[in-house]
Amino acid sequence: MKDKLITRIIQIAGFSSILIVLLIFLFLLREGLPALSEVSFSDLFATRWYPIEDLFGILPLFSGSLLVTFFSILIAIPFGVGTAIYIAEVAPRRVKEILKPMIELLAGIPSVVLGFIGIVFLSPALREWLNLPTGLTAFTGALLLALISIPTIVSVGEDALNAVPQSYREASYALGITRWQTIWRVTLPAARSGMITAVMLGISRTLGETMAVMMVTGNAPTMFKGIVSLFKPTRTMTATIASEMGEVASGSTHYHVLFFIGIVLFLFSLIINIVSNHFSEKNRKDKEQVVS
């Protein structure tokens, strides 16, 4: 009887998250899809975003989010994966015991605090070092976002490395292979699916981050024009929703377009999840084949 009750409770918990995701998605669709009928397709996918004059081109926001996310993950992957390898495979116990909580602490810093540091320190410093017109650029945002996603990559990645059976490493050492070769050729490939999940979670975190980005990227809705755009102000989808949601009257075109941007963001996360699932599934199947 008790067993049944507990099963039921767990079931409710399980269903509730599915239900909530569904409800949120339905709400997004209900509020966002009218944008497609109110703004013509070519106006919506235009290059100028200036909502108070009814210019609803979302492409610059789209390109801004991609630009910032892409470069931030480019910075975060080597640091995140490197730190995970160091903690899991190389660091002596004492160092590990200090490093791990420190990384977790970094994860606990609110993004608005990082944004503040970005405004006060990082952006003036970048302006002077790189001789830029302004330090409020996509690059500043990418750097801060890398800081935000590194802890995610490290902790998930480290778990993945720890999950690799000790016997793999022992077998490798027994063949006279060095530690670096073991990490590179044995441990990392064995932990591949976990590492990919770590990176994908990092990407989701980066794509969805709002506050820090809004504070340091300058929020100018410019289109991507090659690598120079990285050192120019940009405006992301999340920052747009956050800074404009308060002003719009509910039911207006602007309101619907902001929700439409929300749908786009939602689809992005969905794609990232599907890709990461695909990789971990594939990897699991490969492993099963090896075992059988």
Partner: protein
């Protein structure tokens, strides 16, 4: 059947949560309790002034509690239209379409002028430029002038800073400076214009960055940025209480509060007090220009 029961249960909780999260706190007519509340929201230009007023008024009238928040003029007016605030602060006059929306929602916006404000155009103190014409400022913000040497400064790129589009100051600046008061003009801010979420953000960037030009309410301008003299055909004039009152400084505006219908009860008392000499002293202290009777 059991499963659908569980889902129903969750749905009930979820909906209850939704209902709980959408308060409509315009309880100023609730006279049964001793405490009376006024919700006040809107313009970031006005927020410090509104806070100072609220604090002093609550000291003198402990039975009244006033909650003040910023977010921008658009935010305040939207809240008034949605019926969630008693007073909306605005740094621009309400728009036709906002009035229409309010009417459709059964709200009748009532306009009250509470202070005057000059918009200061500011640059870094290192910048040798001291004055610009309105036409030059307009071209700078449209991205037609992109280097300081074109307006008599050093050879540096110009970085334009603006408030976000939900700011009344943004809309005022667009209409009065970028479009030079011409209602038919369709000139826009350059895409490269940085849209910063707060007045402080603009001041901070102008203070640090010798390339920057920004604009902000005179009340926000600090000692460590340089205010430019502007010319709209009548010579270069710096903003001050005097040049705003004699209307020689070209970009000055009125600051408003909007209520639903003519203010009643404690809201009326509060508005009357704001027009008193005592309250208008705060206007001066915070760098704005006092409201003069008969405006």
């Amino acid at each position: 059947m059991k499963k659908s029961g569980a889902i129903f249960f969750i749905l009930v909780i979820f909906l209850a949560g939704c209902a709980g999260a959408s308060p409509s706190q315009s309880g100023q007519t609730d006279t049964s309790t001793t405490k009376q509340y006024i919700e006040n929201k809107g313009s970031d230009t006005l927020v410090n002034l509104a806070l100072a007023w609220a604090e002093q008024y609550q000291k003198e009238h402990p039975e009244v509690q006033i909650s003040v928040s910023g977010g921008g003029t658009g935010t305040g007016i939207t809240a008034l239209i949605n019926g969630t605030v008693d007073i909306a602060n605005a740094s621009r006059a309400i728009k036709e379409e906002e009035i229409a929306e309010a009417k459709a929602n059964g709200i009748d916006p009532y306009e009250i002028v509470v202070a005057n404000d000059a918009i200061a155009v500011i640059v870094n103190p290192e910048n040798p430029v001291n004055q610009l014409t309105i036409d030059q400022v307009s071209q700078i913000y449209q991205g037609l002038i992109t280097n300081w040497k074109e307006v008599g400064g050093e050879d540096r790129p110009i970085v334009c800073l603006s408030r976000e589009t939900n700011s009344g100051t943004h809309v005022y600046f667009l209409e009065t400076v970028v479009r030079k008061g011409n209602a038919d003009s369709t000139a826009l801010f350059s895409v490269e214009t940085l849209l910063l979420p707060s007045s402080e953000g603009i001041i901070a960037e102008v203070r640090d960055n010798p390339n920057a030009i920004g604009y902000d309410g005179l009340g926000y301008v600090t000692e460590d940025v340089k205010v430019l003299a502007l010319d709209n055909g009548a010579g270069f004039i710096l903003p001050s209480a005097e040049t705003v009152n004699n209307k020689t400084y070209p970009i000055a505006r009125q600051l408003y509060m909007y209520t639903n219908g003519e203010p009643q009860g404690i809201v009326k008392d509060y508005i009357d007090w704001i027009h008193s000499a005592e309250a208008q002293q705060f206007v001066l202290d915070l760098g704005f220009i006092p409201y003069t009777q008969g405006e």
